[in-house]
Structures are given as C-alpha cells and as structure tokens.
Amino acid sequence: MPTTEPASPPAPSAPVRPPGRFDGLGLHGLMTVLSLLMILPFAWMVLASLKTLAEAGEPAWLPKAAQWGNYLEVFQVIPFLRFGANSLVIAGWVTLLQVFTSALAAYSFARLEWPGRDRLFFLYLGTMMLPGLVMVIPNFQIMMHYRMVDSYLGLVLPPVYSALGAAGGAFGTFLLRQFMLGIPRALDEAAEMDGASKWRIFWDVILPLSRPGVVTLAIFTFMGNYHSFFWPLVMMKTVDKYTLPVGLLFFDSEHGQATHLLMAAVTMSVLPLILIFVFLQRQLIRGIQLGAVKG
C-alpha cells in the first residue's frame, strides 16, 4: 500500500524513550546506595583486619590505630602461604587441563564429522544435569581404591572432568562448542585447501578465534576451583595440603576469637579475586553474553 502520508520526520534529536522520573542524579543516587550496600562488607573486613584483639570484640567500625602487624601475624599463626599456594596451584592445573581437554573435545564435536558424534554429545550434555553431590561419593570411593586420597593428583584430576563443586568438563565442552559453532566454516575450509592438518586447523584457526570463550571458561573454572570446598575438605587429610577455603575454616575454629587475624586472612584471600575481577571483567562479561546469545 503506497503511503502518501506527509513524511512525518522522525524527530532526529528526540530520545528513544522519554526520560523517566529516575533518570539523572536520582538514578545515580539510588545506584550509589545499592553499590555501597554491596561493598560495605568488604570495607568492614579491611577495617576489622586492622584492629587489635580487644577492639575486634567491640562493635565499632574503626580501629584506634591501624595494626598492620596483623597481616604478618597471620603468616606466623597459620601456614597461609602454603594454603594460598596450594589453592593457586590446584586451581591453575585444573583450569589448564580442563580448558585444553574441553577445547579439543569441543573441536571434535563442532567441526569433525564422525559416526555417533551427536549421540555422544548428548550424553555429555545429559551429565551436566547431575548434581555434583551424586559424583562426590563414588569419586571418593575410586580415589580411596587407588590410594589417591590426600594426594595432589586426586585433588586435581577428578574436578577437571566431573562437577565436584565447580562446573566440570562437560560444561566446558558445551560452552566452547557453542563458540566454535559461531566461527565461519569458510575459514577452516580455506585452511584445509592449503593442506593444513586437522590439528593445525584447530591450533592455528579455531582456538585463536574462540579466545573469548576460552578466557571465560578459564576464569569460571579457576574461580570455581579456587572457591571449591567440598572436594578438598573430603580429600585432604594433612594440613600441608589444605587449600585456602579449608584452611580458613580450620583457622576459624582453632582461633575463633581472633577476629582481627581471621579478617586479615580473609582480606588476603579475597584481594587477589578482586584484582583478577577488576582487570578481567570486560572479557568475562563479554564472554558470558556471547555464550548466552548463541546458547
């Protein structure tokens, strides 16, 4: 139907939506209040870590004078460095192995064509629904049988594949497959024309192009395993091998009244996370959103 309406100009400068009541400073004020609610616990944490033992039992926010020595004392009271190193090394290895094996599997599922591929992929997907709790008990049995309880290997290997607290390899495979499906096939076909092997296509074409997905998965896996609690708690018998979450709790019960030291330890275990987050948040959020839009 040919419209002969007088071209009502779409008012180029008009805003898409009329500004609501909350726009402007009011909205920012509201957001500031909400943001403060989110960060005040952290502010209290830092301030409490600077108190003396006596001050820690009082309800005031501020210490009379900052006790920086608390931070040194933490290292003397508990093997904090050891716990921290355990956490970092274990979470690091799990992340490395999980991202690598998941990327290989995702490439196979997304790009290679072989009989039985889709059925196997559905099996992977199906296990994502399993509660990690179902997995913890039999995995522990297996670890006991092979005498891997209280070993680093037993702490690293099962979480690479199974969802024992953090997401497991099936989730990683699923996430990376979603990313790889979004990469134009023309790229690997061109590489194939040039005589590249499947491995070279994976390593030089597909993997670099799925970088946002890889980074997101790496952050998630690392965080999940850094926070992981159930599996290490079940597996670790010697204090030397405790990770931070297990170690902190041990500290909480042994030195229940030493709130100031506990808060110093908590601050030191949360601080790296805050730094990681501030530097990687853009990548992380983009990765979550890309995965969501395609998923």
Binding site: H28, L62, I274
Partner: protein, 491 residues
Amino acid sequence: MSAGRPVQRWLTGMAFLLPSILGFCAFTLVPLVLSFAMAFTDWDILRHNIFHHAPVKFVGLENFIRMFHDPQFWRDFGNTFFLMLGLPFAIAGSLVAALLLTRTGRRRAAVGPALVLATLTLVASGLVLLIGGMPEPAVWFLFGTLAATVLVAGVLTGGTLYRTLFYLPNFTAGVATFVLWKKLYNPHSGPINLALAPVLDGVAAGLRAAPHAWAVGLPAVCGGLGLLIIAWQARRLRSEDTDSGPVATAAGALVPAAPLACGALWLGNSAAVAAGVAVLGCGVVAAVAWRRPRRYGPPLEAAAGLGTEFGLALVLVPLLTLLAAGVALGASLPVLARTGFEPPSWLGDYGWAKPALMLMALWAAIGSNNMILYLAGLSSIPVELYEAADMDGASPSQRFWHITWPLLAPVTLLISIMGLINGLQGGFEMARAMTSGGPAGATTTLSYFIFIEGFETGRLGYASAVAWFLFVLVFVLSFVNFRFGNRHAND
C-alpha cells in the same frame, strides 16, 4: 564434506576427543554407575575400605525406605526448600539491577579517568584517616567519601562501575566471604546489629511515647500495603490483554488467600485453615469468573503464563505473609516495647538463622551471572518495539509486561532452572562455614546431610541413596519448570 572412510573419520574425531573422554568415563560415567549401585547397598566407609574387605551386601530399597522414615532427612529437606524461597527474590533483584543498569549505561564510558579519580580519592581519604588517628565520627567521613567516589565515578563511567560493584560479591562469594558474614552477623561485635540497635531503640521509644498511635498505625499501614498488593494483582489478572490462560489466572488469584492459610497453619487453628480454604476457593472462582471469557485451545495453552504467575506468587506470598503478621502483631506491640527491642542474634537463633543465610545469599546473588544474562537479554530487545509501544501510548508497566518480560522469558527460564539445580544441592559451604548446620539443625540442607551421612558417619550407601533422590528431584522440577516455564520461552 570430510573426506575419508567412516572408520578413518571416527578415528580422527576420537583422537581429539580422547583426552576428554578418558576422564569423562573415569570420573563421570563410572562414578555414576557406581553411585547408582551403591544406593542399593549397605556400603559403609568403616567396614568397606582398603583395609577391611567385608562383603558389600545388596539391600534393595532399604536405603530409600529408611530415608523416607528419617525425620532428619525431612527436616533438612524442608530447610533446603525454605532456603530456596530466596530464589525468586534473587531473580527479581537481578532483573531490577539489570533494568537500572541499562538506564545508567547510555553515557559514553570514561573508565580511565574515573578509575584514577576513584583511586586517588580512596588513597587520600585513607591517608587522612590514618593521620587523623581515626576518632569515632571518622566513620561518617569514610562512608561519605566512599559514597561520593562511587557517585562521581558512576556518573563518569555511565554504569560500568555500578555493574562492577554489583558483580563483586558474587565473584568473591566463597568460604572467605561466608566467614566474613559470620562476623558481620555477630550479635555483639558485628556491624549489622550495631546499625540495627539505634533503629530498634528509636522504635521502642516511639512506641512508649505514643503506644496507641502505633498499635493502630502499624496494622493500618501493613493492611493498606497488603490491600494495595492484592488490588494490583487483581488488576493485573483482569486486564484483558494479559497472555495468561485460565489456569494461570486461577493460580494468580490464589495469592491473597495463601498468606491466610499460612497464618492459620502457623497458629495451628483448624477452623482458620478451613476458613482460609473457603476464602481461597471463593477467590479462585471469583477471579476466573471475573475474567473476560476467551477461547483457549489445548490444555497447555490454558496453562500459559503459569510460570510467570508462580514466580510472582513466590515473591508476593512472603510479602503478604509479612504484612499480615504486621497486622496481627500490631496490637501487642506496645506491651512488647516496654522492655525495649533486642536485635536478633541471627545465626545463633533458631528462627533467624535461615533468614540470615538467605539475606547473605541475596547479597551475593543479585549481581551474579543472572544479572549479566539479563543485561545481554535486554540489549537484544529491538528498540523499535518500545518505540511502537510509545506511539500507542503504552504505560511503563504495560511496556514491561508486554515487551520486556515476555522477551526475557528464555533468560528467566534458563536462570530459574539453574537456580533450582544449584539451590537444591546448595547450602553446604554456607552452613559449614557459618553455622555448622545449627542452631539445632536449622540450617542443615540436604547437601550437608549427605556430607554428614557419607563422610562423618560413613554410611556411603545411604548417602548415595539421598543423592540420587536429590537427582530425581532436580530432574523432575527442571522438567516441570521447562514445560510450564512460559509459552514464550518454549516457542
């Protein structure tokens, strides 16, 4: 496309899959089968381990029968569901946060200068505090500086800062922050009761000064708010262009009756329960009859919107219950106020421990991945839809219920299923770090129960049975959620 015989292609595919599938079999498939088998045995860590090789007995359904007769299991089952009542609030909170963030996010970001400014202010104020020796009023200086920094940086970065700060609790949530909250909740030295005490004192003083005004005023305000919510709900259900079918409308109409039933049950009054049920039935009939008749097709269509109504009810019913409690307790307030009000002892109190955990979980859950997913969902809604709605003179609430909410339905469905799965098997870290499951088992969830049975008492067979029961529950609830989630989501 791929060249080569099927066998060769299979070999290539498997070669890439090998590192993954070996571990998948060893740590997922085999444990799965083992766990299922264990659920039907009397496997006990004390009798069946590498040192003792007592034969493992097959006991059939004994573990499951025992589970259904175990009062502790049912208590922890109830606890798990009670804690999950926070889930709708967390989802609603994420949605509101995302909606607010999209409104702040229009300005071009000036992240660099804002970060520099924020860091400088914080360092400067920290130095001032350190040099000034931190007298008590300095805490207000601290709060003021923090607020001003956040505000200025927020205006400069156009919302990026708020998003960062909202997401931070979720990112750091773990045993460390749970231990932190345990200290925040400390009834004597924690900041929460420090902030609450003067408020409660003020209320008590006000009550003593004007007991009758309060005894009448509080129930009046609570009752008014309750009526307002009911009226809003009725109006929403009646508006002719909602997409929900008659079943969903009936479910939505039950909302006002539910708090009555809750209250009656709590009082243990069977007559009141009967009255509540009568009111409930009348309400449903009235609401369905009140609606304009429309033709509906298959049963699924009649149930359309059930997910929305159910989710909304999960938010409205607790609110109404609280308001009803306000009405009921109002008259006795002046008597209670004579001794003044004590702030709750949170984690140490049987009644307050669960709400305390739920509040903390809400703090961590608002700015979670859910918020990020909602942000992505919001940014993918075409602006033209809102423009068209504006042309037709749609009100903000119409815009929300007819554009935003239906188009976000897939996201809502996804995060409610994820929340369900995590909620059913969650709570272990919190309970272990903060309350050890207490007081008197008030915060022991099913996951904690499995831990106790499996790894402290050692009855791995029994624990496996509970874990499998949990799995079936997760599966069924996810399926129901998916089926009735929302018809927009399933299209």
